[in-house]
Symmetry: C2
Subunit: 268 residues, 2 copies
DNA sequence: CAGTGGTCTAGACCACCGG
DNA sequence: CGGTGGTCTAGACCACTGG
């Protein structure tokens, strides 16, 4: 039962206390030494716990002063960020998923690079519409490498959560990289998202890998504006956020929806 | 001279080795024990170094196996993300800044909340146009609390980097929270960014705090599309990325540029 | 100045992965 | 099974903050 490491459980207790405003905001946490005594663990363990809160932007840390509680950050866990369905449920919406088209194709250059596969490899391309309580919210073009595709392919087309299915099969996501920018809807986007061609959409391109570093999927998701925002926290301690320059004309493809990446099924 | 802690210097050496493809990608790092010997430090110090690379998404880590090198991540340091000018230089562009309007105003509700100040506090609102090598790239509406505003106010209107100026004054940013979504240009946006009213823009709302947790600025930046993307890395180890739901009608303000937040100078 | 967090050590035990 | 990383301990010294 008690398989969660000590420092994680301590971090959870502290997080809860903070969210319930036991200290702040602006309040000071007990010192590491005091906490170590209270929890009857060594200072190192306490530091590990506090590190978690630090990375989530819940507390500061400076030599010389006690840690200060920051405002509540909109903290989600990794699992929730990784799965559209889980996220939807957490905000009280009913997630819907529907596969519009899927099939095996030879990997194009972008897929070969992103999924780290050879130029003779096949990928499963899936075009999927995501709904929030019935309303179209996002159109997802995903490419899976052979091994993962074989698991995903036989799924019912209305499977709500692919991520959760993969987890039951022992496939876990450990890392993800997201690129967020703006594109305009192509004909396919407009049809399924029920908007006009050339309407602006929020685009998230995503590459996920398993704990061994093996790429699991490469996806381009296009969100209708007004329903979603991305929130990022960064700090001196850890900075996963980056601006990226785009060569004029490249990157932000207007119109040609299948673009360079995982266009899904426009072929045939 | 040797003031950088040991583990950071080790991390830098390893990062360099990785970027120069001394191991991978896909290659395996030496074990922690081996590295500890090589650098003549304890295993704990090596683990601290590796933790940095882990959070940057450069290597994996799993019990039982050696760490695996992932693809090169687009790693920037915090300072670069924090400063438009520094970022611009790093991609070989010439940053430009021009204050269009600034002035002191009573803090509105949003500013009071974001900057954690009372309802009788004043803020300095600055409307600033940012250029990349001459071309308009971003329009920035920033609100500073009294203390910071007093430092920023006397600056020349063409000051390229406010961040760098503040650092010279001993003001350092330690934490930031970013919310990214899509809006349409209002009249003010269109005028200065040289686009049409209602053109889509990428919006980044940002709140930064100093090492003690005191809010330093609250800003709403609007980028012309096609010139920038945001890249986020997240992992089981640390997940600062979040989707956020928006109430229909709220959040994504169309038109009223000064929105709920730090509208700058539309008043008068 | 006393108290705090940042760094570092040297050791221990365990869970897990691969051969 | 041996080797690996994950967890945890008990101590030490230092840099910095604040009164």
């Amino acid at each position: 039962m008690t398989q969660e490491p000590r420092y994680r459980r301590i971090a959870e207790e502290l997080r809860k206390a903070i969210i319930e405003h036991a200290y702040g905001p602006g309040g000071r946490l007990p010192s590491e030494g005091t906490l170590a005594e209270q929890y009857a663990v060594s200072r190192g363990t306490i530091r590990q716990a506090l590190m978690l809160l630090r990375h989530d932007g819940l507390v500061t840390s400076r030599r010389g002063t006690r840690r200060v509680v920051l405002d509540d950050a909109p903290v989600q866990d990794f699992a929730q960020m990784q799965s559209f369905a889980r996220w939807a449920r957490s905000i009280g919406e009913v997630p819907g998923g529907l596969v519009i088209r899927q099939g095996w194709y030879p990997a194009d250059a972008e897929e070969q690079r992103s999924l780290r596969i050879g130029d003779d490899a096949r990928v499963l391309r899936v075009l999927r519409l995501r709904r929030l309580s019935g309303r179209p919210a996002m159109l997802e073009r995903t490419s899976y490498p052979e091994a993962v595709g074989a698991i995903v392919e036989p799924l019912r087309t209305d499977t709500v959560s692919v991520t959760e299915f993969l987890e039951r099969g022992g496939v876990y996501v450990a890392d993800a990289e997201h690129t967020i920018d703006l594109v305009r809807a192509d004909a396919e986007d407009a049809e399924h998202l029920e908007c006009e061609v050339a309407d602006p959409l929020l685009r998230e391109r995503r590459r996920t890998t398993d704990p061994a570093g093996v790429p699991l999927e490469w996806s381009e998701d296009r969100y209708l504006p007004g329903s979603i925002a991305f929130v990022v926290h960064n700090s001196l301690a850890s900075t996963p956020l980056t601006r990226q320059h785009m060569m004029p004309g490249a990157g932000s493809d207007f119109g040609s929806g299948s673009g360079s990446g995982s266009g899904s099924g426009s072929e045939s």
